[in-house]
């Protein structure tokens, strides 16, 4: 096994799938010679040519709309949106079209497409290079939403997503693109969609998170260890479809929950998880479910560190839940 970062793992998954299946093609802004603004598509244009790696004009609606057409015709396109903040010109194509085509055609048509896009803060990118807008998309029946937090999962989940017959939004945590390294199996390697991972087992309290907030929770768990609090960290990995069983099993074990996400708190996907636990596992709860999330403000440039939840903010919530 090689030690890779997330950028390299994504790159390896793309190489692997393009070698396996000539129906896999990539399209996006600056993904050609430049290899993507974060380097995720490095070497692919050189290896597979401009016919399979389309360095497109600057138009997200064009990128996703044409990818849908390609998918309808049997290709497995993997469009890249340069930053999740720039996905909105394609919003209509994603939520009204890609997500609905199977349903509205009675299953005649399908859109096996994976939209890859970096999301979240942590690079001093200001409002428009930092947002976490997964909630809009999780609210879209017909669309799957995947958010890896480790290099191995990035590879395994991306390969599964490409082979999946439904449209998948694949959110890459840009904050830890290069900062986080880990062992990644070589060659064929998949991670099943819809399965959460117990990133750290524990018995006192459950932290539920995804993407770049997973390492923040692991850091909080580590700091709690010194104070004899045994924290469990659940990495959801896939938001839609959601691994309800894994969430409920953890809650049944610990009876205490903090959901951690980077997006604005109100209406965020953490609210859905909280509601689900309240509906199905209230008898296990020893304390209210807490959410640690971004503020209900636009994502700031100068105050980025104040905005993004960190281990201390998570620990503050742990404290409140423990002492309820």
């Amino acid at each position: 096994m090689a030690t890779l970062n997330i950028v390299q793992a994504v790159n390896q998954a793309l190489h692997h799938e393009m070698e396996q299946d000539e129906n896999v093609i990539l399209l996006g802004e600056d993904i050609g010679q430049k290899g993507g603004v974060f380097g995720c598509t490095e070497g692919l244009w050189q290896k597979f040519g401009a016919n399979r790696v389309l360095n497109t004009p600057l138009a997200e609606a064009g990128i996703v709309g044409t990818a849908i057409g390609m998918a309808l015709y049997g290709l497995r396109p993997v469009p890249e949106i340069q930053f999740m903040d720039f996905i909105y010109p394609a919003f209509d194509q994603i939520v009204s079209e890609a997500a609905k085509l199977r349903y509205r055609s009675g299953g005649e048509y399908q859109v096996p497409m994976v939209i890859r896009t970096p999301y979240g803060g942590g690079i001093k990118g200001g409002h428009y290079h930092s947002q976490s807008s997964e909630a809009y998309f999780c609210h879209t029946p017909g669309l799957k939403v995947v958010v890896p937090s480790t290099p191995a999962d990035s590879k395994g989940l991306l390969i599964s997503a490409i082979r999946d017959d439904d449209p998948v939004l694949f959110l890459e945590p840009k904050k830890i693109y290069r900062a986080l390294k880990g062992e990644v199996p070589e060659g064929e390697f998949t991670v099943e969609l819809g399965k959460a991972n117990v990133a750290k087992p524990g018995k006192d309290i459950s932290l539920i998170a995804w993407g770049a907030m997973v390492p923040v929770c692991l850091e909080a768990a580590k700091q709690c260890e010194a104070q004899k609090v045994d924290v469990e960290v659940i990495d959801l990995r896939t938001l839609v479809p959601l691994d309800v069983e894994a969430i409920l099993a953890s809650v049944a074990k610990t009876g205490r929950v903090v959901v951690v996400y980077e997006a604005p708190k109100t209406g965020g996907f953490g609210a859905e998880i909280s509601a689900l636990i309240a509906e199905r596992a209230i008898e296990y709860l020893e304390a209210p479910i807490m959410r640690v999330a971004g503020f209900d403000t636009p994502f700031p440039y100068s105050l980025e560190n104040v905005y993004i939840p960190d281990a201390l903010r998570v620990m503050q919530a742990i404290k409140q839940v423990l002492h309820f």
Binding site: E29, Q33, T56, L58, K124, S302, Q316, K319
Partner: protein, 371 residues
């Protein structure tokens, strides 16, 4: 047939037209040249600051000084500008100080937007310079709407909107063009065709013969202009501005220029750019061309430029030093200007943050967060 190009001064500063037709007096030339020089000097400095880690990011106008400054010079100050992000000279022309610019780039507590956005994303209402947005092309329909509103109110105010060659591929560009044509909005579209949208060359951005021609399909005039020629840019824009002000509808101007730096401080153009093409472009750059012309006209001399440069460098030094002394914005500013009036949930979040920040200080003293 190739779209013709408006040009007065060629790359060798040879005059091909009638300078009288341009209508720039000596003092105008001095102003424009000074602004171009200042933008050039300031941006060189900013790239250094970025390399030194003193600012987080910079994106500039290297090579596009004539394109944006000479065009902006054709508008009146009451006209609204909807900028892209390479138009520093427009703000300076409209009286914004270096200190204001530098404070925004540092995102410090003196920045009037309190570090809301990345460097170079300015907003100056007092200069009729509308807040810059990162999402490409979003400003274009807004400019058309503002122009429609001015027309509705009977004001003799028009809109000028800047965008890049890449921006013409977005849907927002096309809907804006269509509305402008249908409603005969008093707007001038200025496409700065710098040949690149990050790594995508202009000839891969569109299959049409450049960008000016796109106006034709929307029912109005498009002009292709040598964007490195101050006289051509000014004269063409002036025509479009007057036309708009007389209620004769929109114009699209394509300023053919060249991006002489990587896309921004985050990019490395050597990965995708042909070196010879770049060197060729460097020979056509606007500042030298204009300087030679002004020298010939007896308007420029070395001592004059030296004096402007030295004074300006001092001004910039002071602005940077002053900006670096300011703290970052107060955390409470995170919550201001989200809505016209706040709401209870937001106020609660603000209060809880304040308590947390106070508590953090004591945790830091104790070395560990007590559970």
């Amino acid at each position: 047939m190739q779209q013709p190009i408006v040009q007065y001064l060629d790359a060798n500063s040879k005059m091909h037209g009638d300078a009288n037709k341009v209508g720039l007096a000596q003092k105008d030339h001095r102003t424009i040249f000074t602004l171009m020089l200042k933008v050039r000097l300031f941006e060189e400095r900013c790239m250094k600051l970025q390399r030194q880690g003193r600012i987080g990011f910079y994106i500039g106008a290297y090579g596009q000084e004539a394109s944006h400054i000479a065009s902006a010079y054709a508008f009146r100050k009451q006209d609204w500008i909807f900028p892209s992000y390479r138009e520093l000279g427009v703000m300076l022309l409209r009286g914004i100080s270096m200190q204001e610019i530098v404070n925004q780039i540092y995102g410090n507590s003196e920045d009037h937007t309190q570090g809301a956005q990345m460097p170079c994303h300015h907003s100056f209402r007092k200069a009729n310079f509308v807040s810059i947005s990162s999402p490409i092309a979003t400003q274009i329909p807004q400019a058309v709407g503002m122009a429609m509103a001015a027309k509705y109110k009977g004001d003799k105010v028009i809109a000028g909107v800047y965008l890049g060659d890449g921006g013409t591929s977005e849907g927002d560009f096309h809907v804006a063009m269509n509305f402008a044509g249908v409603y005969q909005a008093p707007v001038v579209f200025i496409v700065e065709n710098n040949q690149w949208a990050i790594s995508c060359p202009a000839h891969e951005q569109t299959a049409s013969d450049g960008f000016a021609i796109k106006a034709k399909a929307y029912g109005f005039e498009g002009l292709r202009v040598d964007g490195n020629d101050v006289l051509a840019v000014y004269e063409a824009t002036k025509r479009a501005v007057e036309k708009a002000r007389q209620g004769k509808g929109p114009t699209l101007i394509e300023n053919v220029t060249y991006r002489l730096f990587s896309h921004s401080s985050s990019d490395d153009a050597s990965r995708y750019q042909n070196k010879q093409e770049y060197e060729q472009a460097l020979k056509c750059e606007p500042l030298i061309r204009y300087r030679n012309y002004l020298q010939e006209q007896g308007i420029w001399n070395e001592a004059w430029e030296k004096e402007i440069s030295e004074d300006f460098k001092k001004e910039v030094d002071v602005a940077i030093k002053t900006a670096e002394k300011q703290p970052r914005p107060d955390p409470s500013t995170l919550f201001t200007h989200v809505y016209a009036t706040s709401n209870p949930l937001l106020e609660e979040q603000q209060r809880l943050l304040q308590e947390e920040l106070k508590e953090r200080e004591s945790w830091e003293e104790e070395g560990a967060f007590p559970l």
